[in-house]
């Protein structure tokens, strides 16, 4: 199953490299979103708590702009039926999840670099805590947005519905990640932030389990 998921991922990866649709739109969206924030700030210096919040705002909206592609593209090209024939639902989900996971990690890595270059108060005191938050938050974001993307692709209404459906699902994750990012700015230790970390880990595990259990129902219609 792992080999099959990997070959599915490779298929997505190659077709993405051919069109570069998701990569281009994500990259442009990051630039647009951050420049809007920079223009609206002007010459003022914003506090570190606001910087941490805006960091996750950009991450959320960038994810919403590009991650629905994974399943919508299959519906648009009419290749859903072929995929249903050749692979089991959990294989398909794993393949798409790996693809989205890599997209989320690379895009958030770029956002983090741009933030640390352009925002004065983006100073991480506890770097390992920031890294753990970043990794766990990205996993949760990728899982939740992949399963919602599957629903959106089947629903046929692609654009506007995606952030509407994703936001309530992602809210606990984003709230906790903003909190943890602020902790890493303040230099809070792991010991003090372990409850928040446990929430993010719990969210990732629950979302992953629920997604694998429910994907069968979405995929087979």
């Amino acid at each position: 199953m792992i080999a099959e998921s990997y070959s599915l991922f490779k298929k997505d990866f190659h077709s993405e490299l051919r069109t570069r649709y998701a990569i281009n739109s994500l990259a442009m969206f990051i630039i647009v979103a951050i420049s809007v924030i920079l223009f609206s700030i002007g010459n003022e210096t914003i506090s570190s708590s606001l910087t941490g919040g805006l960091f996750w705002v950009v991450i959320f909206f960038t994810a919403m702009s590009g991650l629905a592609r994974a399943f919508v593209s299959e519906e648009e090209r009419g290749t859903t039926l072929t995929l249903q024939l050749i692979a089991s639902p959990s294989t398909v989900f794993s393949g798409k999840l790996i693809f989205n996971m890599i997209l989320v990690f690379s895009m958030n890595f770029i956002i983090a670099i741009i933030y640390s270059a352009l925002f004065e108060n983006f100073i991480v005191q506890n770097f390992s805590l920031f890294l753990v938050t970043f990794v766990l938050g990205n996993i949760g974001l990728a899982v939740a947005s992949t399963i919602i993307a599957a629903i959106i692709a089947k629903a046929g209404a692609k654009g506007t519905l995606y952030p509407v459906l994703s936001f309530p699902i992602l809210l606990p994750l984003i709230l906790t990640c903003v909190q943890l990012t602020l902790f890493s700015f303040d230099g809070t230790s792991f010991e003090e932030s372990k409850f928040e970390l446990a929430i993010v880990v719990g969210y990732d595990v629950i979302m992953l389990t629920a997604s694998y259990m429910l994907f069968d129902f979405i995929w087979k219609d």
């Binding site: 046929g156 309530p168 809210l171 606990p172 719990g202 219609d221």
Partner: protein, 237 residues
Amino acid sequence: MAWKIFLFILLAFVSIAGIAFPIVEKPSTWYEFPFIPGLEENAKIIFFHVPTAWLTVIAFLLSTVFSFRYLRSKNLDDDAKAYSAAQLGMVFCILATVTGAVWSKFAWGQYWSWDPRQTSIFAVLLIYGALFALRSSIESEDKRATLSAVYSMIAFVTVPFFIFIMPRIMKGLHPGSADDTNAGPIVDFKMNSNMQLIFFLSMIGFTILFFWMWRVGYRSIIIKDKINKQLTGHSAG
């Protein structure tokens, strides 16, 4: 029929008692409520705010249970039940938000302060809104039922985070928050017995009312579907 009259009398009594019974320092007769420091005259809204919030949760739970049953049985009646519960849940969710905001204005000084419970009711409101947006975007009945069932189950697994975890990590104003010094719900300690009685009568009355409305709601959806099918069947045949 008898139970409808009983329900009418119960809710009429609860409304009158909840609004009209005076709050005094030392209650001596059965129709006087005790004076609770920090709540004062605002305490009366508890008879209406708590049941609506409770029914929001019950409706959400029912909606998820019947979504789960739909996914197992593929019976559209279960979807009608889940949808009807979600509709009522939305109504009670708005009522709970509004009564809560009014209470918050008089007890804490502003309508909205992103207290954890306010955050979670806002999230529930968003989930219901998203569910209806999803439902209205899909034409095919089976597909609509399946996808909204899956979505409400995914939404349901996030609920423990809002209900049990958020209020305990964020600073809050509701009883039972992380920094609450009163240690525990008001119901246990500060209400006297007649206030508790009215409170629980109100909970029971509103719950019966909810199940009645729910039954009317899902039956009308099922009948509407049946008539629609007959009409389209005739025109096609």
